[in-house]
């Protein structure tokens, strides 16, 4: 078998498998553009006839618009990413490149904390946030996401791999610690920063369990919660609207994925955490 033939010999089955993998997304898109009566037609109708663009109109600007919750998701994600990048970078840098009393013990504590599942902390957070008046506000989602152990760990691993000589030389020249951090080491960290930023964005954007527990009023729903708006009390789903809203919810992550694919995949594969 020639190389080219071998390529297709494996390529064709894999492409068929890939199309099967994509089928749920294709179904989502197709249903988003259909009238509800056509959603369960047998046999399945892949190309909507007629195209029901009204579904998108309804979920975007109609009575049940998800735009407000889209905006809340953007707000939450922006603050979480900014907070995470700032606090994790500074802490990770200090753990890696600065010496102070109790540093290694503190880092050990950080490592131990990293294995605690978020679910375990939901009960006490629920109670605290109620006492603090943060329950059912977006801050209940934002604040815990701004200070993460995992981000600190990621940044520390990066700064540890950078040479210490830069800092020593800069100190000789009279630079202070903030300058050494912000002018010398921070610019080197751009790839890791973008990886952490992508991760923090995806964590925040896709988070369903935290708002499920900590947000109660529809006026504070983030996007994943608001996708459940199109299910009535009997559990009947409005297919067209639900799928149109789902498509809208996927677009930002998809954009980040397509535009920054290589970095995105590196970020996901190097931390192994969703």
């Amino acid at each position: 078998m020639t190389d080219k033939a071998a390529k297709w010999y494996w390529g064709i089955p894999l492409w068929i498998l890939a199309i099967a993998f994509l089928a749920p997304f294709a179904w989502m898109l197709s249903t988003a553009l259909k009238a509800d009566v056509d959603a369960y037609k047998i046999p399945m109708q892949w190309i909507p006839d007629p195209f029901q663009w009204d579904n998108f109109k309804t979920v975007l600007v109609g009575e049940t618009s998800v735009l407000a919750s889209f905006g809340r998701s953007v707000f939450v994600a922006a603050l979480r990413v900014a907070g995470e990048l700032l606090t994790a970078t500074m802490a990770g840098y200090a753990f890696a490149r600065m010496t102070f009393k109790g540093r290694d013990k503190l880092f050990l504590l950080y490592l131990a904390t990293a294995i605690i599942p978020a679910q375990l902390l939901l009960v006490p957070r629920f109670i605290y946030f109620q006492k603090l008046g943060l329950y059912d506000t977006l801050w209940a989602l934002i604040l815990p996401g701004m200070f993460t152990v995992l981000g600190t760990f990621l940044m520390r691993q990066f700064f540890v791999s950078q040479p210490a000589e830069f800092a020593e030389a800069a100190r000789m020249d009279g630079a202070n610690e903030w300058q050494i951090f912000s002018r010398i080491y921070l610019p080197l960290a751009t790839p890791v920063l973008s990886a952490l930023g992508i991760l923090a964005f995806v964590w925040s954007w896709n988070d369903y369990e935290t708002p499920l527990v900590l947000i109660s009023s529809p006026d504070n729903y983030t996007l994943p919660l608001s996708l459940t708006n199109f299910v009535d009390e009997q559990g009947q789903i409005a297919p067209g609207l639900t799928m149109a809203a789902s498509v809208v919810s996927i677009v930002p992550v998809l954009l980040v994925f397509v535009l920054l694919q290589r970095r995105f995949i590196a970020a996901m594969t190097h931390t192994g955490i969703k």
Partner: protein, 310 residues
Amino acid sequence: MTTTATVAAAPAVRAEKAPGIKPRGWIGFLFIAPNLLGVLAFTLIPLVSVIVLAFTDWNLVSGLGGITFNGLDNFAAIARDPGFWSAVGLTLVYVGVSVPLTVILGLALGIALNRPLPGRAVLRAIFFLPYIVNVVAVGMTWLMLMNPKAGLVNQVLDVFGIQPGWFASSHWALPALIVMAVWGGVGYCSLIYLSALQDAPRQLYEAADIDGAGVWAKFRTITWPSLLPTTVFLMVTLIIGASQGFGLIALITAGGPGDATTTISYYMYQTGFQFYRFGYASAIGLVTFVGVLALTLLTWRAQRGRALND
């Protein structure tokens, strides 16, 4: 706010510092302070609280003053709670089927995607896609795809004459969740394997080719051992993930039909946030955490033992 303090503090240090001297201890602490305070407030204090709560009998209705310590009562109750043990069993089935399946299929896919293929980059992206999409969009889609009467999945299966009831059936609801989990995780596993395969020892393959080793022999003696650490890493992360998520279950089945999909994490969620039995829920959370930790360590140990034998 702490950040501003750090910036402001920096010039003062500069004045009193001679060149070449190690930075003062408290500066490093200032760098860590913003993150540390947040971790303290939102992770460590809640952690301590959950441990304390596990030894109390408390529900939301009785208010903070209603917290009464009941020693090990919660843990004794857990041991006798049939709902808990049913949830443990279901979780073990769910984790025990979905995790190995995801890893094995991910490995096969990873090896396949490591070959020269037409449109390889696009293929890799396609398989990874389910992993990055939010659980509600994906869950709603599968719920409709697996509609027992008119869903696409059963239309396809009709060819083989089987019509599973999926989420409407107590036998098929858990398998339906497993199908979703595998679909969602395979592409991620294959990507992790891909990056590991790229570091595989090339000379060993060349030597094996000279010795005339077959495909299977090469896989067993070279590929598999070199991928073992990756496999363990994937097993551990997937076990942790699969044993903890309750979002999909809360969304699609609410633990049902009956208690057919009430896994341990959903049972905890129900106890805490539907029945407001916070003391009991905390105890369940703690027991689960210790159980998952033990399972994780066992997986890790098993791998280390095997690596030593080789």
